[in-house]
Subunit: 419 residues, 4 copies
């Protein structure tokens, strides 16, 4: 097996990360990826937040290998399997019910976009309305329904059709405090002459990852939930990137004390990088007809197995949650100290829990910092509309030393870029 | 681990196969699924055509277990990995190039709908046109872009928005020979006053699985390719269900001698039920900007491993292809003999290769036959707009005895239903 | 008042008829238009069928001048006026009720496109469906709703947005008899998997004027009405160009014995070239809320006056209807004799009543014939997707001599072009 | 001719003004309408601003009667006529050029909605973008293109399809000064991740008539024009209701010193209530192909005649403009004194020039005031999203005594309603 220049030429030009990190990876363990030559890279990217429990987590690996070795079912659409039942019971009893959520679980397909598509379809079916309110700099996926509620203009341009049935509203702090929260949205809803098509639902990320690590204030989330309730609009939380413990609690909205009507999960839910997505639905809203939304990979059994094991291992007590909050605070403090040492406005620290961002006034410096970091063995990527924010998504299971090492590498990379 | 009535109540009402087959499955091997009590079910459904090489195929299993055991990378978005490179090289050299296809490979996301969405987006971007021509009784997926080109009215109704930018044209033999092929389509294209929005692309399945096992004649496919060429419309073949050898050759369109501009693959491509999808693009049409279409699970490494192993094992010579054709002929002959023994019009045999259909004049008899078959230990499902066609998708690797046994079970089930 | 080259430069480049007929007109009387130098032009165009009772018809002129002189109301939106009441009573009692039509009258705005927009909006509101079926080579107007159901690709291109929510079906004889009537449409409606969005309504012209003077057979119209009834689709007849007596009876569909759910009228309804449009609605379908569709010029009082006078003058007995049929037969015979004298296929005669067409195998010859006719003092225009059909729309009140003169001029013009 | 209860039953239930003012009108002169019994009604509504020069203005009437009596052409689509040339020359030389406008003149059809549809189509064609930005409480018409940029939710609901391709932005003072002007719009435009589809054009009324007599500040209009210029978005001013001198100058935007790319005129342009509409286009933007937008009543000759006469009579000097401003100031002062006598917040005075509004905190009081006024012989209507604003649109030619009388009637009607 050799790395050849040929392979990239065999792929579509749409490929992206292999451009950012022009090397080949082979193995992975915990917080590190390794090249075929065993060169290690500390992973503060974790496959866009998928590998929250570290790469090839040994507990999950054991469960997975056992499952496969014993010839348990790998693929069965949405037929009943013991793996599916085990997951449903465990997820419901250990995750949903203790948090006061009586949602039913839908398996909408293998990826996050499927979870979003199903959520939007259902919201429209329930309300009989077509329009969805999304937020500035939102990211929800690349299929046409999900893309219509995504902000990035380059990605929207790829649709090839006008993306309609969605109206963007300003996310929290979009106007740097110049405009009262929701004044625009509420005024438009209250005014029957505003011309705003009354939305079926609002879809929101509590922390916008792709959008630049924008963390909404909990108070803002609560106000949003109240606006939705007042105007009988469904509230969809897309917790695909920042759910599953990324901000501390299992769901990122727990801390705000809100209960979304529909919740989208994917990425870290399987715990092992296996494709799985969930759409959680308040039971009185579960008006699907049997088979009205289907799909081949809607319930990938090995993913059920690792997901179930991950819940049992990491969510039966508060250990992981508390550790995440504590590590997040450490990253925050470190970033704040970096910011404090630079001229006013050059850098800004952002984020919540273990999704953190370092915003650069000059996007080119952010890119340079990433390149420096890569050269030093640290994987970090940028996000935001101008790729101006370095996004930190270390494994939740990262050790304190690794975390400290990574931050040191990041600090050096930034210093080299900025000085 | 116990089967409980509870688990289904925890799932959304959208679940479907667990209604058709109200039992729990646990293990699987070759052509059989097993319940926790080791009750075997002969699988003529194979997860909607996914398990073409049989369940938990031992050769692929070995490769998969080795990969996982060695802590190779499981998840890495579209970063370069040795698994990815190995797949790209193998797929290109053993599948594409020998068939005269110079397409580049895009990984659009984990499932078939992603492959279709990417194909449609790209076709629109290339041509600057929005409209797509699809065919009556087509099935391409549940995300909004794919759903717009899907025929089933119940599933379309689930969109919650009007599905536009698509115009259905009659599939082969839609009028039972009363209307010359393509007379309608060509007349509409040639007439600048027809009101048909000029399509960016035509999307077609060479055999419509969900639509009722309708196999287009090769001549019809060739004519379609010519119409597309004449009017400068892109030709997209959705080979998600009937590609990867289901009809004999690796691609279902090979036999017709046509070269699609864009090809969608998924389902059986990994060979092991692992979510993977490909969009193959003629190189001069690969106009994506880097990252213009992205997604988290776009290149699931374990799926690369089993897919690569499957190609090496089954596609380095003609053995599988010939066996599939031979088995297909056997099924065809069996179905024909069933049809011949019944009153004229009661049953009709359909299909190509190892995707075969038995159409019932009375849809209720099709349902009853499936229930009888299930009770006797055979899994078959219906398809078609009225669920009137029993669809047979046995593993390509099924033994002749198993195939014969299954057909006997089917014959008995049908006889019990019809008499 | 001088004709200057300047004036055309002051107008938008969208102007069209002033290009076809590059002269200035000033007066008009009966079947003739006159230039400032009193050069007469025999008018076989009549403002696209508006001036059916001849230009400045003296009976209508008297009524109009009296109304204006006495300072009766000219403009009042949809306030009640004596002119409005008089029209409503006369139109209902002399036109609708004797024909067994119990429709209510809506004034949707000043032009035909308003009548079509109102019809489509209402059909969608009634049925809760979005899609409309229109026909190949239909023409219904330039506003976005009407344009979506219009066939001409150049005009559709002017929309600047994708025109959706409409599916074109083949008009009568679209396939020169190769395909049974409605086989396509009915099959698509009957098949729940066809992918055709179930239409709210069908909109049809009984004779397509702009589309090339295509006259549907009465049997085809009856079958269409039956298909609509069977599938609970509303039937809208756009009688804007060929209603008001153009084919003989007041409504062009009378002869077929069908009763449309909604009828659009405009053009000749005022009888004097004054902007007026009507949308006629079966009373049980009149579900508009007050003011739900409004508009400034919805009920132009002078147009009511001339329309009322025209009904009293021309529609209290069968004289006009019979004369129109007789003149139409004369034109038909004349065109047939022209066709017969030319090589097979060079010319084709088309039409019904006093809307007649002469189709040229070579569109350039049609254009040349029009130019020749203009030079000789006859106004005729082309229609059809390739501008290949000369459309004849003489005043219904034309004298036999004038009709004969005009046909002679046309014959000579065509002969000069073709020889 | 008798008023019968029957006539309203013959009309569609969509009729509206005949409900508000349940009587029949017959004659009209200057500032008054008269019933068949010669009961006078002072007209502060003027057919929604159409009759700006008074009903049956004698100067225009003479010109119109002369034109009709001499058998000049009434209808000729867009053929060249002396009436058309005369209008084009006069309008260009006396209206456009003196105001520094080099726009070409398009005749898009007979009504305001046609002018708006043509403007939107052209803006999309020029820019290749689909989206339009409109404003809260905008009113632009009832055809699908115009309705999509109209705010009123009841009227939007009548479309029967989702109205897309438009995003409403807050009109001037929408947030009572809480939010800086354009902060929302500009932020969305500047941010490539906002999710706002980049608009082809902004369409704006300088004073929103139907929306509740909201007069934008001149400074706001200038800022809007600058935002459009900065982001290369076309600026369309819909001057249908408040152009033609309603605010003083011929165009309502003159005072702000801005030059729109496209201007829509209709309503008062003919001066006599005759249907006519114009779309004015900056010459470099006039990219229409000949005939790309057409229509039957695009250039109603009698309307050209009265429009030309009105320009000659009223727009060759500043007399009318100054008188309008002076009368407007008088109405404003009167309304302000009414407001001052009532409790804080009960009434608010609004408007500019001779379009004025009196907003009631309690919409029911506005309705009651209108009913009282009608009973006393004064026609005024409400506008605004809750019908809470009485809109005053007296003739520009009203005498000071009539104006004073009308305001006295209004004051009494309001006092009776409020006390």
């Amino acid at each position: 097996m050799t790395v050849t220049a040929d392979t990239t030429s065999l792929e579509s030009g749409v490929r992206s990360y292999s451009r950012t990190w022009p090397t080949t990876f082979q193995r992975a363990k915990g917080s590190f990826l390794y090249t075929p030559d065993d060169e290690p890279y500390l992973d503060f990217f974790t496959g866009a937040g998928v590998m929250s429990y570290g790469h090839n987590n040994p507990i999950l690996k054991d469960a997975l290998l056992r499952y496969l070795t014993e010839d348990n079912i790998v693929h069965s659409l949405d037929m009943l399997t013991t793996a599916r039942e085990d997951f449903l019971n465990t997820f419901t009893e250990q995750i949903l019910r203790p948090r006061g959520l009586d949602h039913t679980v839908m398996f909408p397909g293998p990826g996050g976009a499927n979870a979003v598509e199903a959520a939007l379809k259902l919201a429209r079916k329930i309300t009989g309305r077509e329009s969805i309110v999304n937020f500035t700099n939102a990211f929800h996926g690349m299929t046409l329904g999900a893309l219509a509620v995504t902000g990035n203009s380059m990605k929207r341009g790829g649709a090839g059709i006008p993306l309609v049935h969605a109206t963007p509203m300003p996310y929290d702090d979009y106007f740097d405090g110049d405009v009262p929260d929701f004044v625009y949205f509420e005024r438009m809803l209250a005014d029957s002459g505003s011309g705003l098509n009354k939305p079926a639902a609002v879809i929101v990320e509590t922390v916008q990852g792709e959008g630049g690590v924008n963390a909404a204030r909990l108070e803002w989330l609560r106000q949003l939930a109240e606006v939705c309730k007042k105007y009988e609009i469904l509230l969809i939380v897309d917790d695909i990137q920042v759910g599953c413990g990324r901000t501390g609690g299992f769901f990122s909205f727990e801390e705000a004390g809100i209960v979304p009507d529909i919740i989208c999960l994917s990425k870290a839910i399987s715990g092992y990088g296996l494709p799985l997505a969930l759409t959680l639905i308040r039971p009185e809203l579960d008006v699907w007809e049997p088979g009205e939304h289907n799909g081949t990979f809607r319930g990938f059994a090995p993913a059920f197995v690792t997901a179930t094991e991950a819940i049992r291992t990491y969510w039966s007590d508060k250990t992981l949650e508390e550790s995440t909050i504590s590590k997040g605070a450490f990253v925050e403090a470190t970033l704040n100290s970096m910011v404090a040492k630079r001229p006013e406005g050059e850098l800004t620290a952002k984020g919540r829990g273990l999704i953190r961002g370092l915003e650069f006034a000059d996007p080119e410096k952010a890119a340079e910092t990433c390149r420096n970091a890569f050269d030093a063995g640290l994987l970090v990527e940028t996000s935001g509309p101008r790729d101006e924010v370095i996004k930190l998504l270390p494994p939740l299971t990262i050790s304190e030393d690794e975390l400290n090492d990574g931050l040191t590498l990041l600090r050096n990379a930034a210093t080299d870029a900025l000085d």
